[in-house]
């Protein structure tokens, strides 16, 4: 029983296909980042210095300048916080190595003040921003439900009228649904194309390179806009279509991790293409060896362990006239070599492992270990796999990347079945946006305190406080085996 991405026959996609939109928001992304970094700087200064301090004044002037520039170009400026994301005028800003601390602080400040939305009108002054940010900084007092109202009152009393504040909106849920549909489409197309490519190669036909490029572009766009849904679909881990879903999953994880490293869009595209094609060499390995349940002979092991270098040769056969997929070739060759290059295949000339190869190695190991395969009837739990990658040096993973990957997927990665201290069972839906709460992910409750199964279940944030005693409402006490309880994780993500 599988969730297999399928193609339906019938009318042409050109007539009835989904229409998507791209482009036009590069300015907002760039200026938005600068604006938020300036706000972060300003928040820090009002915390440390009195308002009339020259440092405070200078940082505020910068904030005013940037907000005016945004207004001049965009005619309006709206900051919205949704989950772990910040939107400027509906454009999601990217969180990466350079800015994750600052963005997280702003998200936390908004959340603590009960603010989901802030519109900035024309004509803001330094004084307006000093007042606003000072109040925002100190808004986390009193009844959480009344904080936004209290903040609004204080701003009015201080005669600051350029900010229009609003609570977190249901728009989040709408956007989440849209993103989920888009993610499903992207995922299904990606698996479909990967299957087509690998089968073409196996049959000695030329695969369609254009399609590969397009699915990777789609994955990159999806990850940049809203990654949670797409990462959630990696839980599908289809047994029958393992080769294809595995390639797509590794691509998704690699691009998501690459985004965290601050790679540009084109660099993510390069990384994604390399990740999607990392196992293309397996198309040259006989299926009976690939799918053998156990006990590979020496020759059979040699055949399988040849797939990295065979991938290089295969990619050469697939290259276009002007395009040589260099990074894909390097990653295909290196992804099993380990960081000390003691893995396979052997090399003769000196080399240094590419960071892209290291990224794909982490993503590959994680997805492979958490999937059921011919020779691995019981997949390992995501949490156990992360632990193993972290503490076992023989795995040869880059430890900094493993750490970054863990902060991407959380201590309990998406798809982990957990038991809460309320005896409810839940599936991890997404890492908690707050960096302080990586052990308190967003989960979907799938059974109540009595053990009654729920579908589709509700999302809860384990970082939420208990209404009466101030502690946490729910806490994970253990990880559970879905097989034991007949739970199919993917049911809750599709």
């Amino acid at each position: 029983m599988t969730h297999a991405p399928t193609q339906t026959t019938g009318s042409s996609a050109a007539q009835h296909g989904h229409v998507a939109e791209r482009g036009g928001d590069g300015f907002v992304r760039k200026m938005g980042r600068e604006f938020l970094l300036a706000i972060y700087g300003a928040l820090r200064t009002v915390k440390m210095y009195p308002p009339d301090n020259p440092v405070v004044q200078k940082t505020m002037q910068e904030v005013v300048r940037l907000s005016n520039e945004l207004l001049r170009n965009e005619r309006e400026v709206e900051m919205r916080v949704s989950g772990e994301f910040i939107f400027i005028n509906a454009t999601r800003l990217r969180l990466d190595l350079e800015n994750y601390a600052s963005f997280s602080r702003i998200i936390a400040a908004f959340r603590e003040a009960g603010v989901g939305l802030c519109r900035i009108r024309d004509g803001s002054t330094v004084r307006d921003w000093v007042v606003y940010l000072t109040l925002l900084q100190n808004a986390a007092v009193g009844d959480p439900d009344g904080r936004l109202y209290a903040l609004g009152e204080k701003l009015a009393a201080a005669k600051v009228t350029v900010f229009e504040l609003g609570p977190p909106t249901n728009l989040d849920e709408e956007l989440r649904e849209k993103a989920k549909e888009a993610a499903k489409r992207t995922y299904a197309q990606s698996v479909s194309v990967t299957k087509e490519v690998i089968n073409s190669v196996r049959m000695g036909r030329s695969p369609n390179i254009k399609k590969i490029k397009r699915v990777v572009q789609g994955i990159v766009d999806q990850i940049l806009n809203e990654e949670t849904s797409l990462i959630g679909l990696t839980t599908l881990r289809d047994y029958d279509e393992y080769t294809f879903t595995h390639s797509v999953n590794v691509c998704i994880f690699s691009v998501a991790l690459g985004r965290k490293l601050g790679l540009t869009r084109l660099q993510l595209y390069d990384l994604g293409t390399a990740a999607l094609m990392h196992d293309i060499g397996k198309a040259r390995v006989p299926l009976d060896i690939l799918n053998k349940p156990s006990g590979l002979s020496e020759d059979e092991w040699r055949a399988i362990s040849a797939h990295p270098w065979m991938g290089v040769l295969q990619l050469f056969q697939m290259r276009g006239q002007n395009d040589v997929p260099y990074r894909a070739m390097i990653v295909a060759f290196e992804h099993h070599k380990k960081t000390d290059l003691s893995g396979y295949p052997k090399h003769v000339r000196p080399r240094t492992m590419s960071i892209y190869s290291k990224v794909v190695a982490v993503a590959d190991a994680f997805d492979a270990a958490t999937s059921r395969r011919a020779y691995q009837s019981t997949p390992l739990s995501p949490a156990d796999v992360l632990q193993e990658m972290r503490i076992n040096p023989h795995r040869g993973m880059d430890q900094v990347l493993v750490k970054a990957f863990m902060s991407l997927v959380g201590h309990y990665p998406v798809g982990t079945l957990v038991v809460l201290d309320t005896f409810e069972m839940a599936i991890v839906h997404a890492a908690n946006p707050s960096p302080d709460a990586l052990v308190r992910p967003i989960v979907r409750l799938i059974s109540d305190e009595q053990g009654n199964l729920l579908f589709p279940g509700t999302l809860v944030d384990l970082n939420e406080a208990h209404p009466s005693n101030g502690g946490y409402a729910r806490t994970i006490i253990k990880v559970a085996d879905p097989e034991r309880y007949g739970i199919r994780i993917s049911d809750y993500f599709v």
């Binding site: 197309q189 254009k210 260099y326 750490k403």
Partner: protein, 571 residues
């Protein structure tokens, strides 16, 4: 999915929304756009026609922006529509701008104010590239995505991907049932030893919370790794991989495949200008073929054929032509590395290009290559002295002279018999540089050459080298009548040589020429007397200088100048 500005083409005219300005402005802009694409195809950016087309297109946007900040066009097979009105109609597909967008899936195109500033030319490049693209090349959507426009938005259907690919849920959703989780946990608690029974709640301090945060060093490590990644020499890295696979995998089929890849890949690298990578490939294949690696003769032959193929005169000439015409020449080190891999037989081609190459940097690299090849392969160099191509022969002679290749004397003798004066001059010069006994004997015969420059070169060399065997011939010329018919340069050359060869024995006749009068009271011509003074200067002994002193008040300025110069040089 349509935007409010884009009305359905089926709307009646009355139902169409009112545009912010006259559609003719948008029509005009699109006409300029179509023209600019054609101009971009035909002319280089520095052509005035191209510049005018771009300026006109930019100007065509200007009257639109006061009325709206966006131009949103609906795209159909043959039309662009704006606010439901057709603003461009091109039915024929071959040159149609709407079709160019439509065929790759674009259904709506929105240009924002400012697109004409920095993004216009990028858009033109993409449109021109797509117009000429082969079916397997990148399409418009792929290229637009890569460019990441900030002032251009587009809606599209992806006709390459199956939009209907979806998930089938192959089974029913989970049925209502109860999971015995509470019982399981209680059972686990009972089985645990007492000291292990805890509240069961995960404590934060059990986990290293800082583990999940990257510290400054780790962030810096990743940042540096990402930066380093962008500096990797990709072609070289991949070549190393291919060669590693070749070396490690002894399977003949695999090695066949790799040889085929290397052969075609080398051509890709050359046409892409990756000369450093080609040089690396050739150096590595050469080294590999010499290492004690078990390689079948056929594969070794194919590897070694790589540098040989590049050294083929036709192939090399094409490469040099491409380099010469290229706007940007590769770095000198890359060219040097590439030319170092050329086989010895290419010396003729390289020498021939020295004269034709327009590019100074290329000429410099070729000079270095020629020098290296000449010194490593004197046999080839000597053969090229007899080349049918005069420019090659002259360059070969030049290098033989620089290297003082004694073995070149024999072919130079043949060159001295050639009707081509330039060749004979070069031969004389080369023989003088070689300066061996054989060379000097050959130069003696050159004293009778029809060409004055050949004679001058020969006699100068004889004088500089002190080839006394030639003294009688030189003396005969100096004392005879033939010297009177020669020009001053030739006269001077003979007299200087005479001075160098005759030494003190030459003083009396030179003294007579300089100082004595004939029976009729006449003296020799000022030219001859000046030459005699030069010759005495070449002798330079006390007696010679005494003769010069006696003449230093000569009335003729040419003679006086020659005397003064000779005395100056000697004192």
């Amino acid at each position: 999915m349509t935007s409010p500005t884009i009305a359905s083409p089926d709307n009646a005219a009355d139902d169409l929304p009112e545009p912010p300005c006259s559609p003719q402005l948008v029509e005009e802009m699109l006409r300029h756009l179509a023209r600019a694409i054609k101009t971009h195809q035909l002319y280089l950016p520095n052509n005035p026609i191209y510049a005018r087309a771009i300026d006109s297109l930019r100007a065509a946007f200007a009257p639109i922006w006061p009325h709206t900040s966006e131009i949103a066009l609906a795209v159909s097979e043959s039309d662009f529509r704006w606010f439901g009105r057709v603003v461009m109609h091109e039915a024929g597909r071959s040159e149609s701008l709407p079709w160019l967008f439509f065929k790759d899936g674009v259904r709506e195109l929105t240009m924002s104010q400012g697109i004409e500033d920095e993004e216009l030319v990028s858009l033109l490049k993409i449109l021109q590239r797509v117009r000429n693209a082969a079916p397997e090349e990148d399409d418009l959507l792929t290229l637009l995505w890569e460019q990441e426009f900030t002032r251009l938005k587009y809606r599209f259907v992806d006709i390459n991907l199956d939009s209907h690919a979806s998930f089938e849920i192959a089974s029913e959703p989970p049925k209502d049932r109860t999971i015995p989780i509470v019982e399981d946990i209680r059972a686990e608690e009972r089985e645990k030893p007492a000291e292990e029974r805890k509240s069961g709640i995960v404590k934060l301090e059990d986990l290293d919370a800082t583990l999940y945060f990257l510290d400054e060093n780790e962030i810096e490590y990743l940042r540096a790794a990402v930066v380093a990644e962008q500096t990797i020499d990709m072609p070289r890295n991949v070549l190393a991989i291919l060669l590693d696979i070749f070396e490690v995998q002894e399977n003949a089929v695999v090695r066949d495949e790799i040889c085929g890849i290397l052969e075609s890949y080398m051509l890709n690298l050359l046409s892409g200008g990756a000369y450093g990578s080609v040089a690396y490939l050739l150096a590595e294949t050469e080294a590999l073929s010499r290492r004690p690696v078990n390689i079948a003769p056929l594969h070794k032959q194919r590897l070694l054929a790589l540098p040989t193929s590049l050294s083929d005169p036709k192939v090399l000439s094409q490469l040099l032509e491409a380099l010469d015409q290229s706007e940007t020449i590769p770095p000198q080190e890359e060219l040097d590395a590439l030319f170092e891999q050329l086989r010895s037989g290419t010396l003729g081609t390289v020498l021939g290009w020295l004269k034709q190459a327009q590019n100074a940097e290329l000429r410099t690299a070729l000079e270095r290559a020629a020098g290296r090849m000449a010194s490593a392969n004197s046999g080839d160099l000597i053969k090229l002295i007899g080349s049918a191509d005069p420019s090659v022969a002259i360059e070969a002679m030049r290098r033989a002279g620089e290297l003082k290749t004694a073995a070149a004397v024999a072919p130079l003798a043949k060159v001295l018999q050639q009707p081509n004066v330039e060749l004979r001059q070069a031969a004389a010069q080369t023989l003088s540089e070689i300066g061996s006994a054989g060379a000097l004997r050959l130069l003696e015969t050159a004293l009778n050459d029809d060409d004055r420059d050949v004679r001058v070169a020969a006699v100068r060399a004889i004088g500089i080298r002190g080839h006394r065997a030639a003294l009688p011939r030189v003396e005969a010329v100096v004392k005879g009548k033939t010297v009177k018919g020669a020009d001053l340069t030739e006269k001077m050359a003979y007299f200087e040589a005479y001075g160098a060869l005759a030494r003190d024995a030459g003083i009396p006749p030179l003294d007579r020429l300089l100082n004595r009068r004939s029976f009729w009271g006449r003296r020799a011509t000022p030219e001859l007397r000046a030459c005699a003074a030069r010759a005495l200067g070449m002798i330079g002994s006390a007696d010679a200088l005494e003769v010069l002193r006696r003449a230093h008040n000569d009335r003729d300025p040419m003679v006086r100048s020659a005397i003064n110069r000779a005395m100056r040089e000697r004192t």
